[in-house]
Symmetry: C2
Subunit: 373 residues, 2 copies
């Protein structure tokens, strides 16, 4: 495997690490949060917005983009970097998460996953080889191996082992066909909440050898303490000098807990999805801005925030927009929440460097449990 990525750890605080991930399309300072652009756009947010917010890498979904507009259209545009207005680093997931999120429309067999599309009624089979081919066409800086992602369910011990072992076989098939020298390929550790399965998955995935490693299937039912322990035991089996990515998580609390166990990359739809529903993450807690109590509250959503929303708009105005179903409300709430997430990780990186990470970790957890409104 080539070296499309370089990763350098520059500071540590316990297991937490601050580093620099250099990709073909730019440098990502880690720990980093990746906004989610399911269909090649973060809901309501443009490439220029993402740059202004301080994003350094963005995630897109292989499965959804292959449905619409189709990988060939994006390839014809020169890949995601040419098709969209985000020219910086991209990561594409493999479609493995859709085994869970579209479970009722997906059938898993050894050769791959067959989806019955809700969009056009067509059957689409995602094999490891096809997942790689699509991702090479999309041209992301980082591609993910196809995995069979199952939600944590202690009753499904044997089923979980099967999915974990199949994910290993699929990972190997992905590795074998992956050929773009300017694209990294990450493996994904599975195994649900069973420590033995997860350890085995981590050891074998590491032995296969990838540019980076991800935790799959977490945030789907385990407790915070279970997750902390699983992250720690997995990291003990992974090469220290490769980036680690906790897929699909989460709330600000999940991020700082993950960082404390050594995670370098995160992605989640929470900031944009919660934003659309009127939940704003602030330094003072979660603000449910549609609540009546904000009707005449003309303060900014977060008085300590530097974003374009907080410097120009009030809680009262945001409440009005969101209650009126105005698209600007969802947009402004998403912009604020993304800036809150990105700024939290900026603060995390700084705190790791100067030795104050533990205090910041506790502050984020405490404030993220407060509910306003």
């Amino acid at each position: 495997m080539g070296a499309p990525l370089s990763f350098k750890i520059e500071a540590r605080a316990g297991e937490a690490r601050a580093g620099r991930l250099v990709t073909p399309h730019g440098t990502v300072h880690t720990p980093a949060f990746m906004p989610v652009a399911t269909y090649g756009t973060v809901r309501g947010v443009s490439g220029a917005d993402l740059r202004a917010l301080g994003a350094e890498i963005v995630l897109a979904n292989t499965y959804h983009l292959d449905e619409r507009p189709g990988a060939e259209v994006i390839a014809a545009a020169g890949g995601l970097h040419g098709f969209t207005a985000w020219r910086g680093p991209w990561l594409t997931d493999s479609g493995g998460f859709q085994v869970t999120s579209l479970a009722q429309r997906a059938q898993v067999a050894e050769h791959g996953v067959t989806f019955h599309s809700a969009l056009d009624g067509q059957r689409r089979t995602l094999t490891p080889e096809r997942a790689v081919a699509i991702q090479e066409a999309l041209g992301a800086d980082i591609a993910m191996a196809l995995d069979e992602c199952l939600p944590a369910d202690p009753s499904e011990g044997e089923r979980m082992r099967e999915a974990m072992e199949r994910s290993l076989r699929w990972a190997e098939r992905c590795r074998r066909v992956h050929s773009r020298p300017d694209q990294a390929l990450f493996g994904i550790v599975q195994g649900g909440t069973q420590p033995a399965l997860r350890r085995s998955s981590a050891q074998q995935t590491a032995a296969q050898g990838f540019d980076g490693y991800a935790h799959g299937g977490l945030g789907l039912g385990e407790t915070l303490e279970q997750r902390d322990a699983l992250l720690a035991l997995t990291h003990a089996c992974l090469p220290e000098d490769r980036p680690r990515y906790l897929m699909g998580l989460g709330r600000p609390e999940d991020l700082v807990r993950g960082v404390a166990r050594g995670v370098d990359l995160f992605d989640c739809v929470v900031p944009t999805r919660h934003g659309r529903h009127g939940v704003l993450f602030t330094s003072e807690g979660q603000l449910r801005v549609k609540h009546r109590c904000f009707e005449r509250d003309f303060r900014p959503p977060d008085p300590h925030c530097d974003c374009v929303v907080c410097t120009q708009h009030s809680r009262s105005y945001l409440r009005h927009l969101l209650r009126s179903g105005e698209a600007l409300g969802a947009r402004l709430a998403s912009l604020h929440n993304l800036r809150f997430y990105l700024r939290t990780l900026e603060r995390v990186r700084e705190a790791i460097s100067v030795g104050t990470f533990r205090a910041l970790h506790d502050e984020v957890i405490t404030s993220s449990r407060v509910r306003l409104g």
Copy 2:
């Protein structure tokens, strides 16, 4: 009546005029287009966006804002300039247009209009006095007299005369109670498509004396030629040195035709509404960007446009966003269309000054009739 506005005509081309309207919150170069912010926001577009697009004045709807969030909330924020992030000049309509647009929910009597709200089931009566009180609370730079706006319908001759005469009585009641010295009040000429009614309305409205004058009830069924003639005969009855506003119109062609007859102000939801539906106004014609033929068209929507959309996004990407129901698609299309309208009027002003208005007028009409896709 005080003089909250100063208006100076700086260049002419036939009946067309280019001028400068100075309001308490800034200068508007005329002829000007006012983006429509029904609920205090142009759909999907922020105050900062409007400034970047080159907007100089924005319109909001008295009736809708009084329903939600309520005039008192906006007054408590310091009016529209404090509540929203658009700090420049505002114009508020009076609610008279809702007599037509919400006809099935409105009952007109001499004292005012009673609306049966679709939002909360409540009855709200808009009298001339209340329309002024709400607009004074909203604090716009320009308020409109309450009128009874009917669509052009030649069969309703007597009904149209009644509405026109009632509008005159309501205008006088508005004038009598209007008291904010920092807010202009415009009268509205009605009378449908009947030249005699419209002339009579214009003469009597002018005799009452307003800071500016509007054409109401047009764009609701008359032919282009009828409208041109009605504008010309109305302008002959209005004071030359006061701004003239053609309410609710329209397409680019409607704008340049109105300018040619001496109109100074326009507003319309067409650029944003058409944008949301995937219709882009370009220098080459109306681009129906959702059409299949743009699937792999990686050119900008309008190669001659200077907007943030055209400099960073392709037809193919916009098509994908709009077909996927992504909010960013509606936003980008709205931003482009608004810039197209605002730039068209920038070009109109320049052309009036340098003597090339007739050529530009013809160019806009010709290109706006072309359909792409």
